[in-house]
Amino acid sequence: MAFTVQAEIKKNVLLLRMQGELDHHATEKIREELLNLMEEHDITHLVLNLEELEFMDSSGLGLMLGRYKHLQKKNGSMIICAISEPVKRLFEMSGLFRIMIIESSEDQALMRLGVA
């Protein structure tokens, strides 16, 4: 299944709802657009809703780690919410759970950032 992403901006928070399969092919297609969007809107916090993300590999990890490092420099944060079972396996083995904030739902994540 192809990868699609829906973006929503709330103040300095970018919410991305990801769907489908996030692999090398998909990351190459969205990276630049994502960087531009974050730059243009001076984004400091990123919320990733992974409820409908069916697959992800190390390319997806690279994309997420890249944004995480970038936001850390701006004292921002990255929140992962509604993670699906297949993607959870990759997060567990890669240690991403240890460095990123995990919330059970999108509402919880937005509330945490004060933009619910």
Binding site: S59, R89, L90
Partner: protein, 146 residues
């Protein structure tokens, strides 16, 4: 039921998804668990991505070869390219090691393959290519009685 299938496809990034679908289809008759299916799709994705971006350095007119072999209840996956090869396999397999940090590669590809499979074997010859051979015992597959 033993089975074997051999594929070759162009080194374009669209074929990462194709290769994942191939392995999922190949093992479908064995009734794998969702977890096994995810693990196998992930390792195939890693190996094929390596062939495309490292082996062939993004050149999209080359061939990637994939062999799937099911023997008793062990699945062996071989992904091979005829690209630049690796000079230091041990170093390449270290967690977080990457030659392409500018592409935001996480350096986790081999770590993922080793974690999700029972055995991973890499052979590589400089300028001739790399072969990744990995196998996994599938708990869901019943070995045939003889």
């Amino acid at each position: 039921m033993n089975n074997e299938a051999v594929f070759k496809f162009r080194s374009i990034s669209e074929n990462e998804a194709f290769a994942r679908m191939v392995v999922a289809s190949f093992i479908a008759p064995y009734d794998p668990t969702i977890g096994e299916l995810t693990d196998l799709k992930t390792v195939v994705s890693e190996a094929v991505t390596n062939a495309i971006i490292h082996g062939y350095d993004g050149k999209n007119d080359q061939w990637v070869y994939m062999t799937l072999l099911m023997e008793e209840n062990v699945l062996t996956i071989e992904v091979r390219d005829e690209g630049i090869g690796m000079s230091d396999i041990e170093e390449a397999m270290q967690p977080l090691y990457t030659t392409k940090p500018e592409m935001e590669r996480s350096g986790m590809g081999f770590t993922i393959m080793e974690h999700f499979m029972d055995a991973v074997e890499v052979t590589s010859v400089s300028t001739q290519g790399t072969t990744i051979r990995m196998s996994k015992h599938l708990a869901s597959v019943q070995a045939e009685c003889h």
